[in-house]
């Protein structure tokens, strides 16, 4: 009996010490979130941009005392090298070993799609910050563990098609896209939306990565009578398309998906860059909100950038920044570092004033894309800077 009392006393003592002595409160375990993205290879810039956005947000959250009553947020990063099977391994690793309660995804849609079953099996939410494939979030599963704070191809395709048909008045758009699953996803979307607008594209021309001369493809579109170009490309190939177009002396409006913003398109094309308009979710150029100023200041002090023109792959940073804040709100709302509860909380968040916009209700059980077509902006280059275009 006496022995049991002393044990109970000891426990009480331990609890008292834990709450009174500051050293104990600081030792609260961190809440781990993970980034599984391409950190090396041709798309490494995107991974770095996402990591920066997450880090800026995490520093803000931790400076305000973290989540769940003083627990700091900790980020672990894994490189999937653009390889779906490595993504699957990394997703398992960060959830099972590092105990991540949410996993952010990178640029490559095939990787996001490959990891999808893992998140459902281990019951931890995925929050995409770049990859735009429509069926990552619209996957038919309930409960759905896939969320996204980024564009989605289907909506981008509608956005582009609408601009080409309604604003430019095009009757015969020509499409040129990369010969990859991403290109295919957009061919599907563009075919669907153009058909709905009763417009028949002249053709869907394709190119491979590292192709140097796109004039044969463009000539096919030109000879078919195209009056505008819709382009789905990353920066290096997008630059070749624009240069080849200038070479064959073909001056038609060119609108592009956002892949060309992931590299140095303006440097590669010079003045020609000003002939292309494209989609973004956010621009660090122009007048910034208070949040925008704060993010730029944090990037300046941490990464030595001089201005918005140094923020390469800006959408990655902006999307990741908002995604991290939304996840932190969900952890707080869930009241526990538990993947399934965080997932439920994400669907029921209230208003959040973010960088990209004020989210009324970021996600619902039916809508797992926090950004919609109305949030996209149309931009172009002017003197190497990305500036918004009036719609």
């Amino acid at each position: 009996m006496a022995r049991r009392t002393s044990l109970a006393l000891l426990i009480v003592l331990a609890l008292v010490v834990a709450t009174v002595v500051p050293g104990f409160t600081q030792a609260k375990p961190p809440v781990v979130v993970a980034l599984v993205a391409a950190m090396s290879g041709g798309s490494a810039l995107s991974g770095e941009a996402i990591k920066r956005g997450l880090t800026v947000a995490i520093d803000e959250i931790n400076a305000k005392g973290g989540v769940l009553g003083g627990r700091k947020i900790e980020l672990v990063v894994r490189d999937e090298e653009g390889n779906p099977s490595k993504g699957v391994t990394a997703a398992r690793d960060v959830i099972e070993r590092e105990k991540a309660v949410a996993v952010f995804g990178g640029l490559h849609s095939p990787v996001g799609l490959a990891m999808l079953p893992v998140f459902h099996e281990l019951k931890v939410p995925y929050v995409g910050t770049w990859a735009a494939a429509t069926n990552i979030t619209r996957n038919g599963r309930t409960p759905n563990y896939m969320f996204r704070v980024s564009a989605n191809d289907d909506a981008v395709d509608h956005f582009l098609a609408k601009h080409v048909v309604e604003k430019l008045g095009a009757k015969k758009p020509g499409v040129i896209l990369e010969n990859t699953p991403w290109g295919a996803s957009n061919q599907e979307g563009l075919t669907k939306w153009f058909a709905q607008m009763k417009v028949q594209p002249v053709g869907f021309e394709k190119f491979n990565w590292n192709d140097s001369d796109m004039s044969p493809q463009l000539l096919r579109l030109k000879n078919g009578g195209a009056d505008s170009i819709v382009m789905v490309a990353n920066a290096p190939e997008g630059a070749q398309v624009v240069k080849s177009r200038a070479k064959i002396g073909w001056n038609v409006p060119t609108v592009s998906h956002w892949g060309i913003s992931g590299g140095r398109f303006a440097e590669l094309t010079g003045e020609l860059s000003e002939s292309v308009v494209f989609v973004q979710t956010y621009s660090f150029f122009g007048k910034q909100s208070e949040t925008g100023e704060r993010v730029i200041a944090a990037l300046k002090s941490k990464h030595g950038i001089k201005g918005p023109e140094d923020i390469l792959a800006p959408v990655g940073t902006a999307n990741a920044y908002d995604a991290m804040h939304l996840v932190a709100l969900a952890i707080e709302k869930a009241g526990a570092a538990d993947g399934a509860k965080v997932r439920d909380a994400l669907e029921n968040l209230g208003e959040y004033k973010g960088l990209i916009k004020t989210y009324k209700r970021p996600f619902t059980p039916e809508q797992h894309d926090a950004l919609t077509e109305n949030d996209y902006i149309l931009v172009t280059w002017k003197g190497g800077k990305i500036i918004p275009v009036a719609r």
Partner: protein
């Protein structure tokens, strides 16, 4: 349309030929192939970019330094990835040269960066119109320089002592050795020369293709296909096959679409291998008994 396609194909084809000629030179002298030729293309462009654009050197100074760096690269590849295996009569040089290429590509990603950079050239600013086709003047320079260089190599082989040594080694290691030719050194020289040729292709292509760590991978592979089609033992065959392959690609892409370009191109490789294993322009090897 056809004029446009011919110009496109000619520029690309002469680059394939230049890189493929490097395969021929090492194969002829040592029966080995440097599978990091594609990365030599990249190194040529990257080193020239760093000196000319990065450090702001004048081009006449950047060019010779780049060529020396390329020759050194060829020497290193031969010493590290070829000679040890050749001595052991192993074909592991095949994997070893591929490995060198992958290492080179990743080193470039670390030190040069991962995104493509623009290589400025006054000749890619305004296109000319020739026969109704738009052409950047630089695109005309590429085949001119390429063909001149290939002619120079051919001449060097026939007229200079070093060239004759190369041909002697190609004919027979033993006989050449008996005649007092240093076989090892000649093979090393062959690797240096092949690396320089690929690197020149890289410098020529840089203003058209942009400079990036992965720019040489595809061209290295296609040049090898060209070497097989033309006949890896036939330098003239390779030059012809390279230019024809470039034209073939442009015309297929222009009339049938890009989707079928690689299918037809590499199907051609298989057909040639089946019908004429020694290449379209090569001659069946003499069996030595």
């Amino acid at each position: 349309m056809i004029a446009q396609l011919l110009f496109s194909g000619l520029a690309l084809g002469s680059m394939y030929a230049l890189v493929a000629l490097g395969y021929n030179i090492t194969y002829a002298t040592s029966q080995t192939v440097n599978f990091s030729q594609g990365q030599s293309v990249m190194v040529g462009a990257v080193v020239a970019y760093v000196l000319y654009v990065g450090l702001g050197w004048p081009f006449w100074a950047a060019l010779p330094v780049t060529l020396v760096a390329l020759a050194l690269l060829g020497v290193i590849v031969e010493r590290v990835a070829v000679r040890p295996f050749l001595r052991a009569r192993s074909i592991a040089w095949l994997l070893a040269t591929i490995a060198v290429g992958i290492i080179g590509e990743n080193l470039a990603m670390i030190f040069f960066g991962k995104d493509a950079r623009a290589f400025p050239s006054a000749l890619t600013q305004t296109p000319w119109t020739i026969l109704g086709a738009g052409v950047y003047p630089h695109e005309l320079l590429v085949p001119v320089v390429g063909i001149l260089l290939m002619a120079l190599v051919e001449l060097g082989f026939r007229r200079t002592l070093a060239g004759k040594a190369l041909r002697a080694v190609a004919f027979s290691h033993d006989a050449a050795g008996l005649m007092g030719i240093n076989v090892h050194r000649t093979i090393t020289a062959a690797y240096a020369l092949s690396s320089v040729l690929a690197g020149v292709a890289g410098i020529l292509l840089a203003p058209l293709l942009n400079v990036s760590a992965t720019m040489g991978t595809t061209i290295g592979l296609k040049a090898f296909a060209v070497a097989i089609i033309g006949g890896i033992e036939s330098p003239r065959g390779i030059v012809a096959a390279g230019i024809l392959y470039g034209l073939f690609e442009a015309i297929v892409a222009g009339y049938l679409g890009t989707g079928v370009r690689e299918i037809l191109g590499f199907a051609l490789v298989i057909v040639v291998l089946l019908a004429r294993p020694w290449g379209l322009f090569g001659q069946p090897g003499v069996r030595r008994v």
